[in-house]
Symmetry: C2
Subunit: 436 residues, 2 copies
């Protein structure tokens, strides 16, 4: 049973705080193991990758077979059925069309003092994308990570995707091809992150690493952060649905379950201004759980972390949602735009009953790599900007330096940074000499 | 003596690689200590802060004196001399004018299928700025961190600044006041980071923490990353100057020294196409080092990490600079704009001989919090965007869902995510019934 909360109850605040604070992830402390793996890869390079892959993935590799060959990729792609290929191509096209609009523009202006100021955007040179193996090997995630990098203009784009027992996912390879990935390596875990960050004899280091992974991958990303850029440390998926009574309970039940089926630690929350409607949705979830393929996972998630919250009105719903800062937020209410205007923290908003969250996972266009675990309070989903960086630009004229240089000198002296001050003073002195 | 390299030498590639790989920072492994401090603050709150501040800063605090009172701030601000106040106000105004231009716009469009897509930007609710104590307590850094947050629209902005032995810097407090900071706490170190991330009885938690600090602060920021957002792990400062012979060697010497004086681990590099000019700059550095106040620090930095590199031409200079990915890059050449167009990785570019880097530290307008240690390959200086986040928005019409829903269903099934597929299918079935 999920929890049922009522915002008018005297115990509500405590119950809601408990829901917010629920620790949904067992973070095993794998840091020591990961630190050793990274040191191994830095010291031994390919040999470490080969040994670790044999141990963890039961797969014998050599430096020559670390990467899929183009022939292998061709063969794998050819195995993808036509309908899946068409769907993947359609998704790639729509994701690209959305992300192209994120391309930032360079800006430059001259201010009243005569200083020319601005900034320029450039892509990172090389990016590495981690794709988990096994059940969570999602071709859609390849598109969502690789296409923003491709749009940004990243020159070299590689994937590390473990193939436990040699099993690969043809759709992952096709998605890689559709999104301009140059090379796909058959390695996973912390060793893959280390290889992309530091390089080996065969694998050239990249500048930015993105993509989800297990606790080992997450710990490795945290460790290499600074040596390379990383996206975020992703936690289990979440959905919050705000709905009034004029909705089909079964639709919303499926939307809640579409997060719950990801992971036993996923969280699905319904907030409604109608208690009876809330019970109807919970009943619909129970009915769907009888037959759903992943009912064990989804059922555990709904039982342990699911919640149905009844509120006085939709304004209160928005306030509670902002405290959750959900990864995915569906607004199934009469005036979804008005409610959206009250939302200050959310990874992605889905407006109206015809926009199930699953559309955003695959084909809507926006990225499905989104901030989890309340991090929408301070971070954004993946975008083209994650694969670019901004260089600021400044040019002083002699007149501009005359106008603002003395203040810089004053501040430098106040901070006891004499050379800073002198670098301005030497130039100002020249100007004074010239005008004398 | 700095190293003198010549790109035409047979040993150049190895020497340049050694320069790039030089480990300039002793990163003491303080992680265990930091982990304990964070645990203490989470368990004991204010009591831990008071105990740690007594131990490390030799300062007795109580919950009531953790923060400066408004009266105390008034008194401290009144101690700032007029010239410093005016310079700080001028700097704040120019930094604000630059950062206001970074405010992003919300975007929304409707695509040919009828899907409405876009994104919205919102500020983080609360941000915490760390300001180191002692020598590196820079009022300019307060402006550079706080003003972008203020421009972004952050509601609550706090500072943690240790005051060892009770000594505070009036300019830091004035800078805080000029940039809209609400509260300044007299605490530092890992305990300050923990307090801002997790909160205590007195200190409310924030969503984003920025600002430089020592190894303990850096380790704490890395640890709390995910619970809150952080800016970056800053390393020692760097400057790279590309100059032709038509420059005053003394000016460039001062520019090189203005980074070297920050820290014995700072790095200053000159790249020139004229070997004699390079030697002249090195000689000018030596002359200035005779009298510079911080000659011990600057001299050690220049001796241990300084470099003068002679290249065949300016194109080669740009290529080498891109491999360094310097924090600060001065282009003192006849056509600085043309050379800038070849730069792909740099934190900030200063164009022409009238733009000493120190202008950017204080008053130019661009941010002086910039990526160090080659991280300009993948990251940017601090900006308004660091205090905002983007929420993606999608709305499907029934027609749009009809057009793209089936592809989403196909992909969901291929990923064995049945509820995802059903959430789309249930709606498509309704549309088919209606049109039947």
């Amino acid at each position: 049973m999920p929890v049922f909360l009522d915002s008018t109850s005297a115990t509500f605040e405590a119950e809601f705080a408990a829901l917010l604070g629920a620790k949904r992830e067992d973070c095993p402390d794998v840091d020591a193991v990961v630190s050793e793996i990274i040191a191994d890869v830095r010291a031994m390079g390919d040999a470490a990758l080969i040994e670790l892959t044999a141990r963890f993935d039961r797969l014998a590799l050599s430096p020559a077979t670390l990467a899929f060959s183009q022939d292998e990729i061709d063969r794998e792609c050819a195995r993808v059925p036509t309908a899946e290929r068409a769907a993947l191509e359609r998704a790639a096209e729509r994701i690209r069309a959305y992300h192209v609009r994120q391309m930032p523009e360079d800006v430059q202006w001259t201010d009243p003092e005569g200083a020319t100021l601005g900034w320029r955007w450039t892509p990172v040179s090389a990016a590495g994308l981690y794709v988990p193996g096994g059940l969570a090997s999602y071709p859609s995630s390849v598109l969502m990570n690789a296409i923003p990098a491709q749009v940004a203009g990243v020159e070299r784009l590689v994937i590390c995707a473990p193939t436990p027992d040699g099993k690969s996912n043809p759709l992952v390879l096709l998605a890689a091809r559709l999104s301009g990935v140059d090379t796909v390596y058959r390695i996973g875990g912390a060793q893959a992150i280390a290889a992309m960050a530091y390089g080996t004899q065969t694998i050239r280091p990249v500048d930015k690493i993105t993509g989800p992974g297990n606790a080992y991958v997450a710990a490795a990303k945290r460790r290499v952060f600074g040596k390379v850029g990383i996206d975020m440390i992703a936690g289990p998926s979440e959905i919050l649905v705000i709905a009034d009574r004029d909705n089909d309970p079964d639709w919303l039940a499926l939307d809640l379950l579409s997060q719950a089926e990801h992971d036993e630690s996923a969280q699905s929350i319904l907030i409604t201004d109608d208690a009876a409607f809330g019970r109807a949705v919970a009943a619909a979830v129970d009915r769907r759980l009888e037959t759903l393929e992943r009912r064990t996972i989804a059922g555990a998630s709904w039982r342990d972390y699911g919640a149905v919250i009844t509120v006085r009105d939709l304004t209160e719903a928005a306030e509670l949602s902002n405290r959750v800062a959900p990864e995915h937020l569906e607004l199934c209410v009469a005036d979804a735009d008005a409610l959206a205007a009250r939302i200050t923290h959310a990874g992605a908003i889905f407006l109206g009953p015809w926009t199930p969250e699953a559309i955003g996972d695959y084909i809507g266009g926006p990225n499905h790599v989104l901030p989890t675990a309340r991090s929408a309070r301070f971070s954004s989903g993946l975008s083209v900007l994650d694969f670019m960086k901004r260089t600021t630009v400044a040019r002083m004229t002699p007149e501009a330096l005359k106008a603002i240089g003395p203040a810089a000198e004053t501040l430098a002296i106040s901070e006891s940074l004499e050379a800073h001050g002198l670098s301005v003073r030497a130039r100002l002195d020249r100007l004074n000499e010239e005008s004398a």
